[in-house]
Amino acid sequence: MHEEAGSWLNIIVQHLPAWAEPYVNLGVITSWVVLGLLAMLAWRSTRRLRLVPQSGWQTIAESVYEFLADLCVGLIGPGGERFAPLIGSLFIYILIMNVTGLVPGFISPTASLNMTLALAIISLVAVQYYGFRECGWRYVLHFVGEPWWLFPLMIPIHVIGEIARLLSLSIRLFGNIFGKEMVIGQILILLGSVWAMTHLSAALRAPIIVAGIAVGHLPLLLLGLLVSLIQALIFAMLVGVYIQGAVETQH
């Protein structure tokens, strides 16, 4: 679907060198643009740090960080703000990538399973790493389960559970964002055909059709904004819950 999607960034895709073509598509380039935007914002808001913020940028960045740190503390408990960099970057990155689909001429990179699976793999590898770092070999032992002689049963169950987490994290985000993009696209086509059926004079026809489409799909855009925010929040919160489960395995 993305290969034929209309986007400003198609110019870059068409002029890719041949060796890069299997690895880089429109979604990847859009995610690079998002990365560049976020890096620029981060650089701009932390350039002249003051104890008492004097620029609006620093104030906004501090309130965003406080929101994310509070989220992590609420999920993981005291000391949870250590995980705010990971969970917060996941949240902001996914949120911006979801929202780009609503900007005319851009697509959501998260509407492709490649991107969401990569994000889920990163976060679940981080969960295993944090679990091992916090609890050491006890974390590995929790895969064995409570009566240790049940380990031929419990180890596969735990491993399958981790893989199921991976799949559910990635497919949930992908399905929601893909569904959002598809619904908006279908509604655009539907509105266009409905307005094209009206009997209008030739001079007014094109502007009325365009205005009808633009006004008619506005509620869908608001719904898309809501879905984007909720899915980014859910991804970040679920990663937080998994980290909490891995960090506190000592029971």
Binding site: G74, R172, G175, G179, M182, L238
Partner: protein, 86 residues
């Protein structure tokens, strides 16, 4: 051809059934959370967090049905085209 027709009917029914089941279960979760918040307003933060995660877990099942629908929907046209050629 009848296979394609049956597939079309079943695929069309799958998402509404999943949506109805998901809506009913989400309604129960939401009602329980509202009761909990009304009984203990000071615990509303924790309850909301649990509510959002639970709703996401339920909703993802509906999304799986939607994905299956989208995957199978593409096959219907191909099936009909194949039968038409024969």
């Amino acid at each position: 051809m009848s296979f394609a027709a049956v597939l079309a009917a079943v695929v069309g029914l799958a998402v509404p059934i999943a949506a109805v089941a998901g809506a009913l279960s989400q309604a129960r979760v939401g009602a329980a959370a509202m009761e909990g918040i009304a009984r203990q307003p000071e615990a509303s933060g924790d309850i909301q967090r649990g509510l959002i995660i639970t709703l996401a877990l339920i909703e993802s099942l509906v999304i799986y049905a939607l994905l299956t629908f989208l995957m199978l929907q593409g096959h219907i046209g191909a099936l009909i085209a194949k039968v038409g050629q024969m």
